[in-house]
């Protein structure tokens, strides 16, 4: 018996070496930790789980002990409660002390309480628990940030791939457009588009991505040009593969890692852009708990009720920091050239 080929072990070793390097970098680990905490807070909330009523003790005797299925991903328990919901809830509404404040509930008896053991971050002008709002804001920011990066990567990726692969006048036209977009002030552009489309998280995400795609277009174009004359592409072409098949099945999968690295690096700044628009007052409107708009509302109550501003601000800061550190770590992991 011969031993299996050595190609795999060496790839595995590379991977392990990278992982080792990542673990050695304290900052990358810190970034990963912050992002994981954010994810738990954001994903764990009661209002994304399929059966929120089960969290507060609702039962469904008709569906006891169902095995995992497309409806009950993790099956159900002896009370007919969805196990997936219960698992997700561990991170979410159970750590939020006042879930009713997220959907706009107010408590005028407890306005502007300073931070205490009951209200960790104090309360705001409506008597809402700032800690609860900040925790709930994690979901809004993460979804919005991810949406921006995703749309920008897809749109920019398609434009860049088309330009790079087609070359010629298509390349010229698309890249001149991209360069022009890069000279426009992105924040003002996003503000104008968001205001014209009207309030709402989805409109804001769309508006920001419209000023975000050029970076991805340039990146992907460069990568596609570098790859499109490679041997495996020529082989595919010789076998009669169509252009779209070559581009989508052979070229794009091979340029994914720089795209993913850029997405993770951009994630923090996308969260920042979302918060900035919320702060200006364009985009998400209360009662949706968004960090930027929480901060903007709190401005009116400075300096006496400083806690209403400080904690949402710190949340933005730590979220951006976490994603930046993680993105730096990932880049060092996957991009040997950028390694320090």
């Amino acid at each position: 018996m011969t031993t299996p080929s050595t190609a795999h072990p060496s790839r595995w070793q590379n991977w392990q070496r990278s992982l080792y390097r990542f673990r050695q970098s304290g900052l990358s680990i810190a970034g990963l930790a912050i992002v994981l905490v954010l994810l738990v807070i954001a994903v764990g909330g009661s209002w994304i789980v399929p059966f929120p009523e089960h969290i507060s003790g609702g039962i469904n005797t008709a569906a006891r002990f169902k095995p995992p299925s497309s409806l009950y991903w993790f099956g159900t328990n002896e009370l007919g409660q969805d196990v997936f919901t219960l698992v997700m809830a561990v991170g979410g509404s159970w750590i939020v002390p006042f879930p009713e404040h997220i959907s706009g509930g107010i408590n005028t008896a407890a306005r502007f309480k300073p931070p205490s053991s009951l209200y960790w971050f104090g309360t705001n002008e409506l008597g809402q628990d700032v800690f609860t709002l900040v925790m709930a804001g994690a979901r809004v920011s993460l979804i919005a940030g991810f949406g921006v990066v995703m749309i920008a990567a897809i749109l920019g990726g398609l434009i860049g791939a088309l330009a790079g692969y087609a070359g010629g006048w298509i390349d010229d036209v698309l890249m001149r457009l991209t360069d022009l977009m890069l000279t426009l002030p992105s924040l003002i552009l996003a503000m104008a588009i968001a205001a014209a489309l009207g309030a709402g998280l989805d409109n804001m995400v769309f508006a920001i991505s419209m000023s975000w795609w050029p970076g991805f277009a340039r990146l992907v174009r460069g990568e596609v040009i570098a790859k499109k004359e490679d041997l495996f592409v020529q082989a595919a072409r010789a076998l009669g593969a169509s252009d779209s098949r070559i581009l989508l099945r052979h070229v794009l999968p091979n340029v994914m890692s720089p795209i993913i690295i850029k997405m993770s690096l951009d994630m923090g700044f996308a969260i920042l852009a979302v918060a900035a628009l919320g702060f200006i007052g364009i985009g998400v409107k209360p009662p949706t708990p968004e960090w930027g708009s929480l901060l903007s509302l709190a401005r009116g109550y400075l300096p006496d009720y400083w806690w209403t501003a400080i904690f949402p601000g710190l949340a933005i800061f730590f979220a951006v920091l976490g994603f930046n550190l993680l993105g730096d770590g990932l880049r060092d992991l996957f991009d040997p050239k950028a390694r320090r």
Binding site: I188, A192, R299, F317
Partner: protein, 335 residues
């Protein structure tokens, strides 16, 4: 060199045309009817139509673009539907305020960033280096508007060292407008009191804006200093007995210029556009606040004016920087 400059200037023409076309297209593709908004909720269809005729918005789009583009060349940047003021006159008032803020922010970033980067490189992998690196990582993640609020909270509200907001006290007489930048105008007028007053107002917003470029300059200075210190010619000089400080003066500071230029080129558009946030916090009467007001009322002539002027400045500044690279570094060739 001369032919290079001329060629680059000629190439600006299509860029400027493209910019106007792009901005015009975007603002006309977006939903929203500024005329209807300006006419008010009680306006009849007839009133809206006449207002629309007055602003030339009933004509076909290519004609409107032609009118706008030829107007730009003659200094006519259109008119606000809401205030009926010409955009060019507004920009003349608000742009210098923002430029003053941006220049001050870049100045602060250079003033603090270059020594910080040097310190970081010289003490590489010891605690001053770690401290600088952590601070610069944090500075990049810090939202400008949050920092601005914290500065306000500490230095204006609690300690009362600096004025809370604005550019200049309303009750005082500002220096005669020459450049529109109060610090420069007051110096030109020889008015020392007005100069210190405007500096006091400028300090916090400029600091809040300078954070990201400051962090980038620090990082670049650190990297380029470490790089230079490992070069053979530096090792040779050190072997010949030259002191560290002399080597830094002779070789390292040269790099300070090119990293500074790079950062200015990278950040000029970002600063001009991002000043919206800081201007909002400090009620700084610049193009950011002007644009915000226009955006909220969907008054698109001012928005187009602001967007285009920032685009033009961005392109021009980057051209100047490209030229300056060659001046400070003979290795850069012009083609």
């Amino acid at each position: 060199m001369i032919t290079f400059i001329v060629r680059r200037l000629v190439l600006l023409v299509p860029v400027f045309i493209g910019l106007t076309l792009l901005v015009f297209t975007i603002s006309h593709v977006l939903p929203g009817d500024p005329v209807k908004l300006a006419a008010g909720p009680q306006a009849t269809a007839e009133e809206i139509a006449s207002l629309s005729r007055e602003f030339g918005m009933d004509r076909p789009l290519p004609q409107q673009y032609w009118h706008y583009a030829t107007g730009l060349l003659q200094g006519d940047w259109g008119q606000s539907v809401l205030t009926r003021r010409p955009v060019a006159a507004d920009l003349k008032i608000y742009l210098p305020a923002t430029l003053e803020l941006v220049f001050a922010a870049i100045f602060l970033a250079i003033l603090i960033g270059i020594p910080a980067g040097l310190l970081s490189a010289i003490t590489a992998n010891r605690w001053p280096d770690y401290l600088t690196r952590i601070l610069s990582l944090a500075s990049i993640a810090m939202p400008r508007f949050f920092l601005a609020l914290v500065l306000q909270l500490v230095f204006a509200m609690s300690l009362a060292w600096l004025p809370l907001n604005g550019r200049f006290p309303i009750i005082d007489l500002p220096p005669p407008a020459i450049t529109g930048m109060l610090t420069i105008d007051s110096l030109l007028a020889g008015d020392w009191l007005a100069f210190t007053t405007s500096c006091e107002h400028l300090l916090m917003p400029a600091l809040a804006m300078s954070l990201s470029p400051l962090a980038t300059i620090t990082r670049m200075m650190r990297a380029s200093t470490l790089d230079v210190l490992q070069q053979d010619y530096v090792l040779t000089e050190r072997a010949l007995g030259l002191s560290q400080s002399l080597i830094i003066l002779k070789y390292v500071l040269r790099n300070a210029f090119s990293s500074t230029l790079t950062v200015i080129g990278l950040y000029i558009g970002w600063l001009l556009s991002g000043s919206v946030l800081v201007e909002t916090v400090f009620d700084w009467p610049g193009i950011g606040l002007y644009a915000t007001k226009a955006i909220v009322t969907q008054d698109f002539m001012p928005v187009m004016g602001v967007t285009l002027s920032i685009g033009f400045i961005f392109v021009l500044v980057n051209l100047v920087i490209d030229l300056l690279y060659g001046v400070i570094n003979p290795k850069v060739r012009y083609q």
